[in-house]
């Protein structure tokens, strides 16, 4: 089985195209029906398909607020997904431990601060810990398991997850901790501005999170495109064997990649921790990054970002406008269904490489 570039097929309606056309037609019919009053208020079709949109039109400030909240949680999902993508691209490992790495990085930072280390020094020390983690993961787990099937490596990252949970709880205790947002000069409070007859409140920390995420992604893009190590990373992602044969050290690349994922985890941990608190519950929320991954494709950095935003916004809109119809709490699974719906049309994700399988 190998991946090769496929020539773009000429545009014509596939079964997928017909499905999309049918959906669009149904939407137009529904809209017409509701406008002409064939489907009145209270009709089940109206409640599900028309009324939420009417609500959106009637209260645009609520809509903007919901979209903004979706956008912010989308950025955070995208950051976790980014950590996954970095490691998957370079080593083909589906790193389940990314979620716990976020928690672990956050806990280490707070732990150092509580020991009396100044905030920014603690930040640097935490980076050191993440580097140590990357080295030990490469030495202890990846190196002995090289050339094993994917599922074995996936399981090994489960082992890492358990070790990190155990270690983190043993060292820092299992209680939630307050992120040291003030000491790291992160802004507090919110900006409110009037919008379409209402108010929209934007938390400053959320704006900062979005900005920092954008900065980090730009930095990563620069690192990948312009530096020597970045080129080596892309070579490894393309083909391990070819990269080895031109003298790129796989072990070194793996350490770098896991360290990069550790940095991403630390930034995610700070941002997420500043919004709520640092606790092991974050690890469950990190599972939300998985639908983002399948939506964007396991190997695509832009995919992780676009996927994160789609999932974040879709999830918040769905919960706010459609959730009450079925009793709420649909946030826990809606993301997966959004991702599944996309997957039915593109099995390799939105930006994933098209796989052509051969015998």
């Amino acid at each position: 089985m190998s991946a090769i570039e496929a020539p773009e097929p000429p545009l014509r309606l596939t079964p997928t195209g017909w499905t999309l056309l049918g959906l669009a037609g149904a939407a137009i019919l529904l809209l017409l029906a509701s406008l002409t009053g064939v489907i009145g208020k209270g009709n089940p079709l109206d409640t599900v398909f028309i009324d939420p949109f009417r609500q959106m039109k009637d209260a645009p400030d609520l809509l903007v607020q919901t979209v903004w909240e979706g956008l912010v949680s989308g950025v955070l999902y995208a950051l976790i997904a980014l950590g996954f993508v970095l490691i998957f691209k370079a080593s083909g490992v589906f790193n389940f431990a990314q979620g716990i790495m976020v928690v672990f990085a956050g806990l280490t930072l707070v732990g150092f601060y509580e020991m009396g280390v100044p905030a920014f020094l603690a930040l640097i020390l935490t980076l050191g810990v993440m580097f140590l983690l990357a080295v030990s993961v490469e030495r202890v787990v990846l190196r002995p398991l090289v050339n094993q099937p994917d599922i074995i490596l996936f399981m090994a990252t489960f082992g890492i997850t358990y070790v990190l949970i155990g270690l983190g709880e043993l060292v820092f205790g299992g209680n939630p901790k307050q992120m040291i947002a003030d000491q790291l000069m992160l802004p507090k409070g919110s900006i409110e501005f009037p919008f379409a007859g209402g108010f929209v409140a934007l938390q400053k920390i959320d704006i900062a999170a979005a900005l920092i995420a954008a900065l980090m992604i730009a930095a990563l893009a620069f690192f990948f495109q312009k530096t020597r190590i970045g080129r080596a990373l892309r070579a490894v992602a393309d083909s391990h064997k070819a990269a080895l044969s031109v003298g790129i050290s796989l072990n070194q690349i793996w350490v770098i990649v896991w360290f990069t994922a550790g940095i991403v985890a630390l930034v995610t941990g700070i941002m997420w921790g500043a919004r709520s608190d640092v606790s092991f519950a974050l690890q469950i929320i990190a599972l939300k990054a998985l639908p983002v991954l399948i939506l964007g494709g396991f190997t695509s950095v832009p995919g992780a970002i676009v996927g994160g935003l789609i999932i974040g916004i879709g999830e918040k809109l769905g919960e706010f406008y459609w959730g009450p119809l079925v009793g709420g709490g649909i946030e826990s699974w809606l993301a997966y269904f959004i991702a599944l719906a996309f997957l039915l049309f593109r099995p390799q994700g939105l930006f994933g490489e098209k796989l052509i399988e051969r015998i």
């Binding site: 202890v140 398991l145 994917d150 599922i151 489960f158 358990y162 070790v163 396991f298 079925v326 709490g329």
Partner: protein, 359 residues
């Protein structure tokens, strides 16, 4: 010396295809069955029955179910916990709606309900593969878990929001509910496990099992050889979910005796069963038993074993250490023997054939 097949001649195809072709194996299995049926209940040890044997048997059943899907058909699933939950709730609904019917019938019937749900969530497996599919099965996990909590009809509008297992009898003896003795529950469960394992063994040694393994090894090649992927993959999902459903029903009715879905059938349960399958050995029925025994007994051993050898632990530290140990053990086992305990068993048997004069 004693484990040698010299002098045992096969004179028919049936004998050649037997599951246990060596006489010593047949004697061994008879001894194990006799011990399980007569020896263990005769010890009259309630702790052994309720904390060791019953959990192990329930998890073995679930692990066999997942192994049929992941180990034999190569479809990675992270929704095992939810499929177990479907079995438990189906059994609860059926036995409260029709209390006159024997509970064993309902436990098995609930497996069919679970199989139906499994087929529904298995449909995407035709389009998507590998880790994409694994994440897609998470949709089943979270959606079904949401249903268990949000649809009160499923738990008969109980104030506790949990399954309350009623008393049911078999031959006049209570097998479920508070009055059932551990011995009866154990024997009923053991019989279920033995019969279902026998079925599973026949499935995987027959035409269906070979088709599954062909799909696992390379599905395109299998398709070219005339194996229809749609029925084969869906059958794998159905049979696997059947086993998981029966395991879930057995877990609720014969082990827990009532409980809430979020505790018993959450995502961690799915991961635990995946550990069992991988530690035990992918694509091996006996491995499912080894894995289930190992993982289900590990916390008990750590909890009671460490104080016994003189390492006193407080409750919280013990829990953290359990996490740490489980993580380290998973990584250790994957490195030492990626093919699981079943492979170690095979190696041991091979060595035994030459013992005491190896060449």
């Amino acid at each position: 010396m004693f484990y040698r097949e010299a002098g045992q001649f096969k004179t028919s195809y049936a004998a050649d295809m037997a599951v246990f072709p060596i006489r010593q194996d047949r004697i061994g299995i008879a001894i194990i069955l006799a011990l399980a049926y007569l020896g263990i209940p005769a010890l009259q040890n309630e702790f052994l029955l309720t904390s060791v044997m019953i959990p192990m048997l329930v998890f073995s059943l679930a692990a066999i179910g997942l192994n049929l899907l992941t180990g034999y058909t190569g479809l990675l699933s992270l929704g095992t916990g939810a499929f177990m939950g479907v079995g438990a709730y189906a059994c609860y609904k059926l036995t409260t709606l029709f209390p006159g019917v024997n509970i064993i019938v309902w436990i098995v019937a609930s497996g069919f309900v679970s199989a139906f749900v499994g087929v529904l969530f298995g449909l995407p497996s035709l389009r998507i593969k590998g880790f994409y599919l694994a994440v897609a099965t998470l949709a089943a996990q979270f959606f079904l878990q949401w249903c268990f909590v949000r649809i009160p009809w499923l738990y008969n509008y109980n104030a506790s929001g949990a399954i309350e297992v009623p008393q049911r009898t078999l031959f006049g003896l209570p097998v479920t509910g508070a009055n059932a003795t551990p011995e009866t529950r154990y024997l009923v469960l053991l019989t279920l496990v033995v019969v279902l394992t026998w079925f599973a063994s026949n499935i995987v040694h027959g035409r269906v099992g070979r088709a599954w393994m062909a799909v696992r090894d390379m599905d395109i090649a299998a398709e070219l050889m005339g194996i229809r992927l749609l029925p084969t993959k869906l059958l794998a999902f159905a049979v696997s979910s059947f086993y998981c459903g029966v395991a879930g029903a057995a877990m609720m009715f014969l082990w827990y005796g009532g409980g809430e879905a979020n505790d018993a059938f959450n995502i961690n349960q799915s991961f635990t069963i995946l550990f069992m399958v991988i530690i035990g050995g992918l694509g091996s029925l006996i491995g499912s038993f080894f894995g289930a025994a190992f993982i289900s007994m590990l916390p008990t051993i750590l909890k009671f074993g460490l104080p016994a050898i003189g390492i006193p632990l407080s409750g919280a530290t013990a829990e953290h250490l359990t996490f740490l140990t489980v993580g380290v053990l998973i990584i250790f086992f994957l490195i030492v023997e990626p093919h699981g305990l079943a492979r170690l068993w095979q190696i041991a048997k091979q060595k035994l054939r030459l013992w005491p004069f190896p060449y």
